[in-house]
Amino acid sequence: MGIFKDRKERRTGAPGEKCGSTRRDFLRTAATVSAGAAIGAPAVASALEFDFEAFLQKNFRELSDAELKDVLARLERKYSEKYGKPVSVGAIGPMDGVLFGYGLDISRCIGCRRCVYACVEENNLSRDPEIHWIRVLEFERSAALREINLEDGNPYYEYSEVPAADKFYLPVSCQHCEDSPCSTVCPTGATWREPDGIVVIDYDWCIGCRYCMASCPYGARHFNWGEPNLPAEQVNPNMHMLGNTPRKKGVVEKCTFCIQRVRNGRLPACHEACPVGARKFGNLLDPNSEIRYVMDRKRTFVLKAELATHPKFFYFWGTEGRD
């Protein structure tokens, strides 16, 4: 379908890419470092329990290229050690001429929540306490003929019974607002909207005040109330610093359109996992992209349009009259 015609250029250091090295380089560094760490580092590490380097780490947006490289290397070292396998932590930046957009076909969604669990695995979400970036709401079909009132949505429906008769489903995650109320209120500038439209969080800079959660009209933001628990064998080692690096307790997290994937020319994990093709994604500025196909041909709407947040997540009915 040609969502990313420019995939090749991106991999080899496109303009705007934040860090010069490629993912393969990261993997190699990680492997070397973890081998080295196995020999002498543990004694030093345990002697210095408090990680001053991490504590004094700057805001992502204030890091120079050299500093960012150091931070990424340190994170790779840390996670490779912690999870016992080579981990790559990238920070690939946005590309000129790209504005990501998401489409969701309400007429197709069957409420199976495969997207929810694909997201959990891809983005290293805490398994206990359980955190989900996608929340699927179930609505009465008859009520829906009149209106979608979020108050009528039920997020706790039974998994085994979908798609239930006379029900329809509305998955909600971060809407990646153009005018994002969450980043406006953040007191430390730990969350912001990238030029390609992805709203990101610097998990190391967030102080956990949760003002953004009060400000988000879509319930997209989730807090690590307890220590996140992520089994080592389930860790996804391909990480982006602003995306799926494992979080600490006391910070806020949310969907990033799978920044570690989409900036490398791949589709979000939820999109790949959807068994009915209800999810559409791509570059809104590319007339040949999948999302533009939807935008140009379907009647779309956004949630809570009256709030003027201008989401880049669009809902639509792809197949009219389907029952």
């Binding site: 504590f55 805001n59 947006r61 204030e62 306490p129 929340r135 709401l137 009132n149 979020l150 108050e151 009528d152 949505g153 997020p155 909600v172 109320p181 406006t184 209120v185 953040c186 007191p187 430390t188 500038g189 730990a190 800079w205 967030c206 102080i207 956990g208 005040c209 949760r210 003002y211 959660m213 009060a214 400000s215 988000c216 009209p217 879509y218 319930g219 933001r221 989730h222 807090f223 690590n224 109330w225 307890g226 220590e227 600490k248 307790k249 006391g250 910070v251 806020v252 709030l307």
Partner: protein, 406 residues
Amino acid sequence: MENLKLFAQFTRGSLIAVARGGKPYYAWLLGLGVLIGLGLVAYGDQLSRGLITTNMRDQVSWGFYIGNFAFLVGVAAAAVVLVVPAYVYNWGPIREVALVGELLSVAAIVMCMLFVTVDVGRPELLWHLLPIAGTPNFPHSLLTWDILVLNVYFLINWFVVTYILFMAFTGRKYNPRIVLPIIFLSIPFAVGIHTVTAFLFTGLKSRPFWHTALLAPRFIASAFCSGPALIFLIFRVLRKVGGMKIADAALFKIGELLAYAMALNLFFVGTEVFTDFYAQTSHSIHARFQWFGIHGESSIAAYTWSALGFNVVALIIFIVPYFRRKLNLLTLGCALSFFGIFIEKGMGLLLPGFTPDVLGEIYEYAPSANEVLVGIGIWAVGALLFTLMVRVAIAITQGKLRVARA
């Protein structure tokens, strides 16, 4: 140089004044110490296990802590109501009242800052808010404004009380040319801390319950109910146990002031009720939750109605001259006003704003035992701080603590 030496003496004298006291005084300090200790243990547990020790969750992401914060900003702001007549119009009887009001402000702001600190997930990273070292999102984030105005207001009040007490200690009269400009500055800042705190909530378009232009005026009106009421109650205690001489005229003046404040506050409550219930929209669901509960979840409604009851009875006491002139009845009115506003502006403000949440879910929040213990610990810190400061103030104003002239 001379002043520095005197200030050293003043500090030493103050320390001695707070260290010495009778058995009831020590018992009071010990009691507060125990509560602070319990609070610290509870906070230690929260630090090691995370905010999961509270009952806050994604659906209700602020609770007891931020409710107390909003309430205490009001208490802090209210001191200015008493300061103005005392220093600007030089109305004698209220002078001591004003001094104690300012001490209360200082203690209240310390409590505010503690309540925000315990609410934060990673308090060790609070330096990210500082200029230069951190990256404060100023002027976009109202939270950075709030930190700024709270700190300035804290410094203003702290300076004024220290200066006035220091001058009294050295047997001199304070210089109105120093005090008056600062007092005048404190007026916009008192209004400012409360307006900015209200704007923290008003500025959230995701929460229709708070997204109302009336919130800031309501905050100010309710602050002038809770703050002076608390000062009144403290005065009744201090007259008994602190040996402080306070004219009845000053206390009755507070009662008069409370009549205006409470009338205005209840008027505001009424206008909000009218707006939400006469022309209902889907946003009115929060007000319905507040007053009646929805889907069988109605524990908050009991609080809402009891707060209304407290405030109405308080207003009747304040407004009828016959009742207002009875000191014990006035005391009851103040207690009702204090607790009425505490409910209305704490849980009563926070919970309906979050319930139902932005996706329509109802999570009924009540603070956990751990959360309450941390909160009580912070109130105890405030009470301790206030006790120590008042002790110095009493010793100085009564002339027991004076500079030793050679």
